[in-house]
Amino acid sequence: MDKNISFTLKVWRQNGPTAKGHFDTFEMKDIPGDTSFLEMLDILNEQLIEARQEPFVFDHDCREGICGMCSLYINGHPHGPATGATTCQLYMRRFKDGDVITVEPWRSAAFPVIKDCMVDRGAFDKIIQAGGYTTVRTGQPQDANAILIPKEDADEAMDCATCIGCGACVAACKNGSAMLFVSSKVSQLALLPQGRPEAAKRAKAMVMTMEELGFGNCTNTRACEAECPKNESIANIARLNREFISAKLAD
């Protein structure tokens, strides 16, 4: 059985994108080790509401590690100390009794704070809208086996597609670069024949939108790869660069 732990929680409070923020400190008592990090924050909020104070605001949705909504920069790591896991999949047994746990929002100029640790990740939607799809004209669908795809290609595309667009790569990067996200979304389509017809257009449009939105450049520090909850590889970034350069040379 897990032991209960008590610890000091420092959470970032900020009322809006331009407001001045500060840390609030709370003493959390007897939290069971099999409490998820988000459940622990629920407990905190329940206590705050009981004391008739405003709860701490953070993003969350499915709590199954598949939606990409939860974020939080915990003790200097996006999604906390666990590797290959989102914040909702982080459990309190990872921490020790008496620890000080610091919780901050995603840090990037392109992700403005809405409130506390909830940030606006609409920039990712804009990048997807710029080309992260294949144009499907409706009508008679073609036979499922008309285009044969090698298993290795399908697997590699699927690995890229596991990116949930949470933004941990941006938060981890000293340049605030979104290259791991963009390259995964370009790769998942570039690796499949259905994605090839629009590949050049897609790579150019998504990179251009990324730059317009204020994300930084990639300097290959690999911090994104180390922090990605879905273990996306920076090989995707190399693929994006190849796609982008060959598209530019063809112009």
């Binding site: 998820s36 509401i49 008739r52 709860p55 999949q89 459990y91 409130k115 409706t138």
Partner: protein
């Protein structure tokens, strides 16, 4: 990931007694994932509100008492790719003659006031209970009385408890903060109000159906072997529930008969 969540590595040797190896099992438990049924739509996927279409798993069209495997995702794809592109234009074509509606119209002002009044009402309750504590209580009522196995007696009890819970919500809810700007508690409260209505609706529907059908098991209606017992003679219809304009009047049941032409209706049997 299972190890990350539970601190137990499934498949790892746990114990060895008299040469018999025992490995850590992966513990699973049935839990409610989906709500069966959904918003009533016509064959064009339009709801009873003209011009409002509901596509994907929120509507009732492709699943009724049962929803297995990935059918929820497939319904989103099927409705979006193959149905809506052929149906929504039938509605839009008729709209081409209408001018753009202004937000100065009295209907807009009335709708806006309705929402504003409801927000003011919720913020003004200033009771003692948090949104989450009432939400959790609703979950327990649903699990206990409107779960996978249910009885008429349990359902009646569930409806009674939900009515009491709604009273609690209306009189003892506490939402901190202000209605200006982002207020996640207010957001949750508005959802929770709908969840209570939805829970009651599910209980009414389950109570009206004296048979075990699809994913639902009415414990009074089972075969001698404990299998689900359907009653096609009396319940061969889709139960549609019509809102009566307020949350306290029971909804009205409208029966839509099921008509099959190409297939023969059978009872599913997992035993063979």
């Amino acid at each position: 990931m299972y190890e990350e969540i539970t601190d137990v590595n499934p498949g790892e040797l746990a114990n060895e007694i008299n040469g018999v190896k025992y490995y850590n099992p992966m513990m699973i438990y049935p839990a409610i994932h989906y709500t069966m049924g959904g918003i009533w739509v016509d064959y064009e996927l339009m709801t009873s509100i003209k011009g409002l279409f509901a596509i994907g798993e929120c509507n009732f069209s492709d699943h009724g008492a049962n929803r297995l495997g990935a059918s929820a995702l497939m319904q989103g794809l099927a409705d979006g790719y193959f149905v809506l592109p052929y149906t929504i234009q039938n509605y839009l074509a008729d709209q081409a003659i209408w001018p753009r509606l202004s937000t100065d119209l009295p209907e807009f002002a009335e709708a806006e006031k309705g929402v504003q009044d409801e927000i003011d009402r919720l913020m003004g309750i200033q009771g003692q209970r948090s949104v989450d504590s009432i939400h959790k209580e609703l979950g327990h009522i649903m699990w206990e009385h409107v779960g996978m196995g249910r009885t008429a007696e349990g359902l009646r009890e569930g409806i009674k408890k939900m009515k009491e819970l709604r009273k609690e919500f209306d009189t003892n809810l506490f939402i901190p903060g202000s209605k200006e700007g982002l207020n996640v508690e207010l957001d949750k409260a508005i959802h929770l109000r709908d969840f209570i209505i939805m829970g009651e609706l599910e209980a009414y529907d389950a109570l009206s159906r004296n048979e075990s059908c699809g994913g639902h098991f009415r414990e009074e209606y089972q075969t001698e072997e404990g299998e689900a017992k359907r009653d096609d003679e009396n319940f061969f219809y889709v139960g549609c529930w019509k809102y009566q304009g307020n949350d306290t009047t029971e909804p009205e049941l409208i029966k839509e008969p099921l008509e099959y032409e190409a297939i023969k209706v059978q009872t599913r049997n997992y035993k063979q």
